[in-house]
Assembly symmetry: D4
Homo-oligomer: 253 residues x 8
């Protein structure tokens, strides 16, 4: 439901004044101003970046989002022990350990007939890839995983060429030299979202090497997110996967 | 037409063996191996990056693409004087001076009912924005331009909020501190493709500052291309704009 | 009281020779030379940067400042457990935990009818913002806090536009892409002091990204301090807030 | 005049509807959206950064500002030959060659009894210092210049200590190691605005060295602008110099 | 001939004292000390890096090498106009324009039954590749060129897999993201010498991106030389190609 | 055995279909795709980079390699306690503690009459050097160690000149300023593989200083691997040491 | 005693053959090659950099130096607990805790009538300064300490101007912006050895800021050592302090 | 003559009041404040850094220095054509073209029995070396040049070992990997002043590589100046060369 639709619904009496107001404003918790309008404005609901916030703060933001009728609330970069603390206080919280993501509520309804591929160069890139995969799935994308297909052994990637060719977006996750994104983009008729990871040592400079590789890709159709930002790529992939899909009223609020 | 379709068409006799072969291989010009298979594999045809190639080389690649039945061939980063030299030798070449792009053939058929927004922070970012806009248009996207809406005077951007809200993708082009992408992503329910530009001086370090800003965007839904890479963002925007659109046979080859 | 006034006061017998001498020199503690002349010279008293000093050294400098009649002595970057150790040894020490600042003595008299705004992009930037706020308040500025108003949800910041418009200075604290400073400077008719924070990951490079953003701000009226240097911005804001205010004799020494 | 005052003036009939509207909006020139509201919102009028704009574009923006009743319009980073071209087309344009600034209209009325000091480390820093000085003067600050007082011969700076002690702000311009800002801040009871310059060679890395020096100043009360950004420091100094000064109606619009 | 052999030859009277001395020392030209001992010590003769030397200096070093009986003297990074000047003064000088290399004397005898592959990612990398190819050939390697086989169109590289599989070393030359080296190393049972080039723009940072990519290669068997250092890779390839080959006395001196 | 030989062997019935298939494909373990084809394609078998993998994952990959008849499987960057855990579960595993390498199976047969030198600048570089030495030895090279021969005391290195002159490759391992590689290359008639180490402090920037030194070597014949990448240099040295050596069938699979 | 003198002493029978040989060679401990010739060659004896060496290795090198008749052996960067372990095993070892240096044997005889000043910008720089001071003293320099004289309070430094004016060298130790070196060099008629320290945070980048400041010093007569390298500066100061002083035979060996 | 001596000379009537005042102050030329006190304070006279100054400014500073009785005035970084312009206006000006230095007046009296060595790694480093050599000579040092003795051919450097062993300081000038300084410091019993040059390409990053090498030197006794700063090293060498030498009254003023 977009802002305009919401206003019409309110005019027609389908929404109470309180319900409308709640969706159009932010809640001020002092330490945070929770953006309830976001899913109307941006198509997907607010997400809590948990690093640098206290357990208590995260709990209160989750509660506030639920109070604001948010049906799919995500918390990312959440350590397992913190997740366990929250699970004791919030019913309906599901924690994805490899991805370090907590989901409060339900994933959005899956977009039919489309899917997103999440690929990695190596085994060590999997945690970042899972962050992307769980995010995309929470926001309605079917996800196909394709791990450890780095360019040092091309036959592994080529054996997945057909899967890649059918995707609406590919998330390519790689550390070290990060060449995966270019090679994938040479095979994919869809946008490739490249995620450099901090996997590596020495002159990988914490992921800088992979980041530069991906930014300089000689293959068209690659765009890049921050180092280790699986969430960002999964979110973008979900947005792309929804292009042209009419938001059914029940997927959001 | 994808590779599979091409093979079926050949089997059914709709394509001659020569036509099929031409589309499935590359032509080896010695100094270049022109990738004729690309539009089958990647959805959009080969593009010539003209910098670092001689006039003669560019001419021969254009000729080879035309011989390979490519209907929409682009050459980017082409200086005006070089374009003029080519125009005298290639009929049907159209040059977009602000964008520094040459188009041989016709733009792809426009995707109906969708559009892409190209926005800039300032006036000096316009050449990069035009590269994005012309590229996206060549590959079938209707483009809405929205220039000089930088964050130092927010009311200029906010007056375009509705236009942004309806796009299938927004290309946000900005130099200096590059904050435009984050602010736009806070308003847009679609993917934002951020293009840092080298506009600025001192600690902008040739666009590095804007690049880092965009990679670290606190707003979800932003992905980034190389500094001044208007082409890359326009190409990605065109891909996104085509999601779910059945390639009609006549748009490619 | 400036140096000249002090000399006149001494001539008139309002100050004893010992009092005058104490204010014009430094005390040599061996490991430190405490600058007693500073508040005469620079308008605000000496501040102790506690990192890299031992507990014992900090204690002795505080004692020396008090002996030198300093009425408002600050110690910054002081960990809670160290503060507790000092509190047991120095009467009249007040510790601000979020800001990690200890204040010995009294805040300076508040400048009437003016105030300083301290704003943050996110929740994780609050500790740095508190360092700025407590510093500014200690040096006589009324402080209005305005936290979590980052640019990804502009309506949060715009709802504070009036507050910002009335300030004598705004301290804008932000990590990640640090776009807050530019957007605030586009709204504020006063100097904006930008504080990049080390909040972020990957290509934020420990705050470098936000630092560059702020240095390259396209909005006029922004100046920048070191990463996480809330103290510096609060100090500068207090200086600006005092412009044109006659130092009453009792605010200093 | 602030926005609120403008609205009241309009209500009282002191301003026509057209006059009010002109001041509250921006003019859309296509390649630029001129921010007419700026001086209401930010206290000082719009400034044209001329680099990267064509002569024709600069001319049209100056004309638009004049049409919008802007009384003090500045164009910075304007080369002499371009200035000459403009002077032939815009009456009332004054060009400051060392500062590379063009002023259309009149400087703002000088703030009485206050002044700003602009100091440089060396002779080669003078062009950047002049950009600061001319900007500050255009926006109503009396400016005292104090050039070539670098730290390698301290007696030169110390002979100016009294001048520095009386300023409302000091702009400290220095390249190479940029130590001037710290030393000045140790002498000044007011904000110091540090401008690193690109003067130097080798490991000065185009001003990076001086920039880092200034950001890490051990002296309190220093904030920093971009490399060679004399304009930014002069603008900030003018803002500080105006603190607590009631805008007389005739200084703006 | 190694130093030991030379000494024995001298003892046996096969070399005069003067001949022996000439080969064991350096000639001091004042501005240069030409290392005549080098080919005895390092297996391959001295090479002149022409950048930063005057025409006159290059001429005198070439003359000195010839006087020292060097049979294969190379000058690299030599601009065409300078080469022409030298050709008029040195008989037997051959200039390779694409490679910008001048060869005085004869190439070393070709190592039988082995070859070196020189591959590039794109057309713009060819000048650097030619520097490698001409160097390797001068030092006795048969060279197979394989240009424009970048990873964005893998079928181009895969069609050369057999050629690569038979080489004694592969020189992989690529700019932009530099992924070629990793992909080649996944196909080659021999050392891969990676040469990053400065081809690219923006975040390629003059070849830094490709350099980091290659240093971080996830494929084993890659080592890297300086940006644009085709000579270094060609030299190393020639050394590898000679492993286990008995230096016939007539190939050196 | 190369791929071609394998196919012939299969045709002749020397290999069963299952054996052939096993060698030509990869095994998909989900988290990893083990590249069994590698030693056919690249001359040396797959190596496990253990950092970032769980103990369980390493165990399963080792088991899979053994199942695939790999005779020489290496695991690098393996901490002692993890090695001990593996030793209890894998018979025939040998652990080299200084090198942090585990070897499953047997080293490859030693190449006769050739050797590789591994040299270090200092004592602290030895762990990286051991990684190189153990790797090279596992892949069939005789290794001569030459430690603590840094350039500050040249007579130490010069006393090893003869050893260096006879090697087929030299691995030069050095941190701090990394000058060892250049000096060695001036003495060696064979390829020098330079390994920068992270030994040092301050402006060594984690090995960056040594890396740059080695990339800029004024001596011909130096190529460089990643910081602390002893494995990479040892692998490359082993490849070079094998040039021209016919793979006996029993060394691989 | 220089090498020539040593040879003469041996010829005259003042030294036994064994004694002469011991002084001219290095001892090979396997993990280290101890440079016994160093004090003959370089004027000052070998120094052990303890970081990255095991306790056992340090012990054996100290023992070897003593066996080689070295009268003044230093070990730097030695943690207190390691020093205690060594003290139990080596008689005559003296540990300087603040400097983290162990001295085996006696300091060299003090050069008469000269001294070296060691100055710091702040209290936190003292450990690095002590490394310099203890080193210089061990090698025969009288040392005057002058701590916490940073440029933010110039009167502290100016009160030491006379001391500085009389030194044969000044070691200037400073972190943060590192301006001390320039200011001191403007006062000192002798070489200034600048030591940047890693004291600071944010954009000090681990001492990089201070390093660049010092390298770009506008004052003549400054040279720089690595970040935190107090040893290097103390060593260089001792060398300078000895210029023109005849080595008495008993100071070395 | 030091300040104290000057005051005594004035008291005794050996200097007029005017002469004393002239030597103790600076002359204010507006664009420059010429430091006449410098040679009293710092032992060596003021030097003009000509880059970034106009011809007219340089002329006036030279004239002012002469008026101030400076006997040895240097102007560095002076292009040949500018030198010619000055020679026409200043009698007694001598220009050293390779060094790009102009000397007004006479070199200082040579320090007897000592000398300074200036060495370079290659031929292209000579201009920087000449800047060092001419500077040192102007300030009273005998200079021995030793060019093109880079570490790739050690025998060239070793043949100069005796010369190096006798120097009071060595200036080691090198670009590319800059290893010369470490090797020289391993041979020299005196301070080594290392000058990195911008000679090189690619990953030399304009001299950064050589700079880092030199800062990280594993050899004791190396200190470093800015990239290409031959002047700084020559100046420092001259200072060291004068240690312990009584300034005769006629060498200064």
């Amino acid at each position: 439901m977009e802002i305009r639709e919401l206003l019409q619904a309110y005019k027609k009496g389908l929404l109470s004044e309180e319900e409308a107001a709640r969706a159009l404003t932010y809640s001020d918790l002092g330490f945070a101003k929770v953006d309830r309008q976001r899913s109307l404005r941006c198509g997907l609901p607010e997400v809590i970046y948990c690093e640098g916030k206290t357990d208590e703060q995260i709990l209160r933001i989750f509660e506030d989002l639920r109070a604001g009728s948010c049906k799919t609330a995500l918390g990312t970069r959440l350590a397992p022990e913190r997740a366990r603390w929250l699970e004791g206080r919030l019913s309906g919280l599901h924690y994805f350990e490899k991805a370090r993501i907590a989901l409060l509520g339900e994933p959005m309804e899956e977009v039919p007939e489309r899917y997103v591929v999440v690929a990695t160069g190596g085994t060590s890139d999997i945690p970042v890839a899972e962050e992307a995969a769980v995010t995309a799935a929470a926001f309605g994308a079917r996800v196909e995983r394709c791990y450890d297909v780095g360019v040092a052994g091309l036959h592994r990637l080529l054996s997945k060429a057909e899967l890649i060719a059918g995707a609406s977006a590919v998330v390519a996750v790689a550390g070290m030299e990060g060449a995966l994104a270019s090679v994938v983009a040479g095979l994919a008729p869809c946008p490739v979202l490249a995620v450099p990871t901090s996997v590596g040592y020495g002159a990988s400079f914490g992921g800088l090497s992979a980041l530069l590789t991906m930014l300089n890709s000689c293959a068209s159709g690659v765009s890049v997110v921050n180092i280790d930002n699986g969430f960002g790529a999964g979110y973008q992939a979900a947005l792309i996967n929804r292009i042209g899909v009419k938001n059914s009223e029940d997927t959001l609020y």
